[in-house]
């Protein structure tokens, strides 16, 4: 029932009727094949019926089940058949005008690629890069810290000495 509710059919009686129908069929299937749970039978049956119905309505029997479902559900949504004619969902044969309405919903997800090559051009970073490269190659972080501490000490001592003299 929860699964059928996700289709947002506007006629609740229709949803109940479909659910009962599917459950009845699931009971039959479970009797024949008790190794599978009734819910599994019911869902497999519901999915198969939906898939077959959508494929026949859209005339796309040759496509994979996932593609048929994706195209079909979107067709259902965009054509508003689930709202305007809920009784026709899973009905066979589907009235011609509804079949036409479903087939007319063409989903354009994106234009075809028109590939361009976009690559960075060489940029000469100039003299700063030369200096930086030399620095990176020469300097080790540990040595740098030691050097900085050393000169900080020297300057401090010099400043202290000067301040004593002046």
């Amino acid at each position: 029932m929860n699964f059928l509710n996700t289709f947002e059919l506007s006629d609740h009686a229709q949803v109940s009727e479909l659910a009962l129908n599917l459950l009845h069929q699931a009971r039959e299937l479970h009797r024949k094949d008790p190794s599978r749970e009734p819910v599994t039978h019911a869902m497999a049956n519901a999915q198969k019926r939906l898939g077959d119905w959508l494929a026949a309505s859209l005339g796309e029997e040759h496509r994979s089940p996932s593609r048929i479902m994706a195209t079909g559900y979107i067709a259902l949504l965009l054509s508003q058949v689930h709202r305007t004619a809920p009784a026709s969902v899973l009905a066979s044969p589907l009235p011609e005008e509804l079949r036409q309405a479903l087939r007319e919903t063409l989903l354009v997800t994106g234009p075809d690629f028109n590939i361009s090559s976009m690559t960075p051009r060489h940029l000469d970073y100039g003299p700063m890069l030369q200096i930086a490269r030399q620095t990176w190659h020469r300097w080790d972080a540990k040595e740098l810290v030691i050097a900085l501490l050393f000169w900080a000490g020297v300057y401090s001592a010099f400043y202290w000495w000067l301040s004593q003299r002046l």
Partner: protein, 700 residues
């Protein structure tokens, strides 16, 4: 390379006057500074102050000269040499339009707001009768699966409501390389050849139809133009902070942009959004080069716009600022904390631009833009150094004079000559800082009615200046920290900008700014003790620090913003008379605000799943992810529930179309005992999912 000469005849005169005046003012400031030391003992701290001073003062001088240019340009009724004022405007309506893509890069932003913005722009374009020339591209880099699935549903809803199939496209990027610039580059590589122009927007940008059409015509009429940047005004603010930002951008922002345009002409700025770009040269010349640093993780240019503008100029195409073009909008940060988050990103990006400052072939105007952007953040640590060195210098001078027995020294200390230079320097600094603001207000006065009336405009300006006065020292400290963190190599991640006026908690404000208050409170007695009367110079800075948590909190509160609106303060023309393109944008009714775990709808709801499968290109099952890994993830999801997976794992599942289809079948087919209990609840609530009610099953 484009051989067309983009400069008009008085370009050199403008540039030389701009540079000449900036240097003259800086030199005058430096001279007054040096003279203020005349006859006094100079300490080494003073040498530091004197060394830093020209750099700091030059920034004030540059800002002042730009504002003067803007004011002069307004007085004379605009720049007749500007690209947007060319002869083409006389026959504007007869210029045919070329194919243009409106590219909207999104990254976990509020989907409802983006979709309403696109719908408004679409309708606005429809009114111009030129809609056929424009296509919209929502280029998503969202990492949050809830946002991803919601974006897909919003896209379908937009196409359905506007009958825009084949005109509005959605693309989710699988590999999020190089942030926003990579997102736009990806669009260029895939579809760039189909369009002559692209108008790049931010997720929160809005442009009116007539402005979009005019930009395309301006490009068509001026083949030498590579980028035309509009002046986006901040709108839709509710918090006090955002309303103040809106107000200041309206009153002062335009003046600086106009000045910048007048001084720079075809070497203007590009701010990364609300701008039109000529696609072919952008593809050919503007892909960002990697930075020449040893760490490969830091080679990507974070702040792309300035560099792209420099590369466009380097290729011989003009970059213009269409400062007069109305109908270009954006949203600002809702509070101080969000502004600082944004500033941290911008700071890291702008500091990277240092490399381009000395690159060969970069045009002088571009170097100037890079320098101004760089100094925008470097000024903060320099200002802090100046303050510390100045305070120590003052302390040593006082100590020296107190201990000195030489009457000559005492005479020097009270020298009226030095004092007059200090006064002059102070006067000059205040003039350079505040005169542009006064001029901004003066130029706004004729349209005061759109700002709530003259008295309210003046009061708002006064309050805005007061807030800027107190926030400046807070920004100085945070920007200094950002510069240090960047220089120390702390990685900056490009995050979603928060645009919701939800306000900050007092706890957050105390945690983030409380230490500044403590610092200010400690410094008050220390500076008073050691510096005596001189400490009054530090009072505004210490007051800003002490008040920081309170100011951050009070300006973030939506109620304060509404109160100021009710009082007629910080009113902007878009608030008085909102254009149709902005209407309904701030109604908070997106699906994302209504629920979480939206992504599971792609597994449960047949409609949401169908939209998702249509957009995820199939045929590449598992997409490089090992099949066994996907199988394990699927089983974990079913048995442990959606909360058991992290964001990356959810995305991996969503990218694989076959997996999504399989999960849909399994989740509905398996007996309850084999499912995690949360699935039963989710199945029951699937029909009432906000994705369906907000987007897919709404009445047209």
């Amino acid at each position: 390379m484009n051989d067309a000469a983009p400069h008009t005849n008085n370009f050199v005169v403008r540039r030389s006057i701009f540079l000449g005046l900036s240097i003259l003012l800086t030199a005058s400031g430096l001279l007054l500074m040096l003279n203020s030391y005349s006859g006094q003992k100079i300490f080494w701290e003073d040498y530091v102050s004197i060394g830093v001073f020209p750099l700091l003062f030059s920034q004030i001088a540059v800002g002042f000269v730009l504002a003067m240019y803007g004011f002069f340009d307004r007085l004379r009724g605009g720049d007749r040499h500007h690209l947007m004022r060319g002869a083409w405007r006389e026959k504007e309506d007869s210029i045919p339009l070329a194919a243009t893509a409106i590219v909207i890069p999104v990254y976990n932003e509020e989907v409802g707001r983006i979709s309403k913005g696109i719908a408004n722009m679409w309708r606005s374009l429809e009114k111009t009768g030129q809609l056929e020339h424009f296509d919209f591209y929502i280029c998503s880099d969202s990492t949050d699966p809830d946002h991803w699935v919601e974006e897909e549903c919003a896209w379908l809803s937009l196409c359905q409501r506007l009958n825009a199939f084949g005109k509005i496209f959605y693309r989710k990027r699988r590999h999020r390389i190089n942030g926003k610039s990579g997102n736009v580059a990806d669009f260029c590589r895939r579809w760039g050849k189909r369009y002559r122009y692209m108008i790049v927007l931010d997720a929160d940008s809005i442009m009116i139809g007539s402005a979009l059409v005019r930009l395309v015509r301006a490009m068509e009429a001026n083949p030498e133009a590579g980028i035309i940047q509009t002046q986006p005004y901040m709108v839709l603010g509710h918090s006090l902070f955002r309303r103040i930002l809106q107000f200041s951008s309206q009153v002062y922002g335009g003046l600086f942009s106009q000045g910048c345009s007048m001084a720079q002409m075809s070497s203007g700025s590009y701010w990364g959004h609300n701008a039109i770009i000529r696609v072919a040269p952008f593809i050919e010349y503007c892909d960002l080069p990697l930075l020449p640093v040893p760490d490969p993780r830091r080679r990507h240019v974070l702040s792309h716009d300035t560099v792209e503008a420099a590369l466009m100029r380097h290729a011989g195409y003009g970059v213009w600022i269409a400062y007069e073009e109305p109908g270009s909008y954006e949203e600002g940060p809702p509070n101080l904390s969000d502004m600082l988050t944004r500033d941290r990103r911008w700071c890291a990006g702008n500091l990277q631009h240092f490399w381009f400052l000395f690159a060969r072939g970069i045009e002088m105007g571009s170097r100037l833009q890079i320098w101004i952007g760089l100094m925008g953040y470097l000024c903060s640590p320099l200002w802090l150094i100046f303050l510390i060195a100045g305070s120590f210098g003052a302390y040593f001078r006082m100590r020296f004079l107190t201990l000195s027995a030489d009457p000559q020294d005492l005479g020097a200390a009270t020298s009226s000559h030095a004092g007059s230079h200090v006064g002059l320097l102070l006067g000059l600094t205040l003039t350079l800082l505040f005169l542009p603001r006064v001029l901004g207000i003066l130029t706004t006065l004729p349209k005061a009615a759109q700002f709530g009336g003259t008295s309210r405009l003046l009061l708002s300006a006064l309050l805005e200046n007061l807030l800027s006065f107190f926030l400046a020292p807070v920004l100085m400290i945070f920007h200094t920290l950002f510069v240090l963190l960047t220089l120390l190599g702390w990685q900056i991640k490009w995050t979603t900008q928060n645009r919701a006026d939800t306000g900050l908690t007092i706890k957050h404000c105390l945690a983030l700014y409380g230490w500044l208050s403590c610092l200010g409170l400690i410094m008050c007695p220390i500076s008073a003790y050691y510096l005596g009367n001189v400490s009054w110079w530090l009072a505004p800075i210490l007051a800003g620090w002490i008040l920081a948590p309170f100011l951050a909190w009070v300006t973030s509160v939506r109620r304060m913003g509404m109160l100021s609106r009710a009082c007629g303060l910080f009113v902007t023309p878009e608030e008085v008379q909102p254009p149709p393109e902005l209407q309904g944008l701030d109604d908070d009714d997106g699906a994302s605000s209504a629920a979480s775990q939206l992504w599971v709808q792609a597994l449960l709801s047949p409609y949401v799943q169908a939209v998702h499968l249509s957009l995820v290109r199939q045929g590449t099952s598992s997409n490089g992810v090992p099949v066994q890994f996907l199988a394990t993830l699927r089983e974990r999801l079913i048995r442990e529930g959606p909360q058991a997976l992290n964001t990356k794992e959810k995305s991996r599942l969503l990218w694989d179309g076959e997996t999504v289809f399989w999960l849909h079948q399994e989740l509905w087919s398996r007996p309850a005992a084999q499912l995690h209990p949360s699935w039963i609840k989710l199945q029951a609530g699937c029909a009432g999912s906000p994705l369906l009610s907000h987007y897919l099953t709404t009445e047209n």
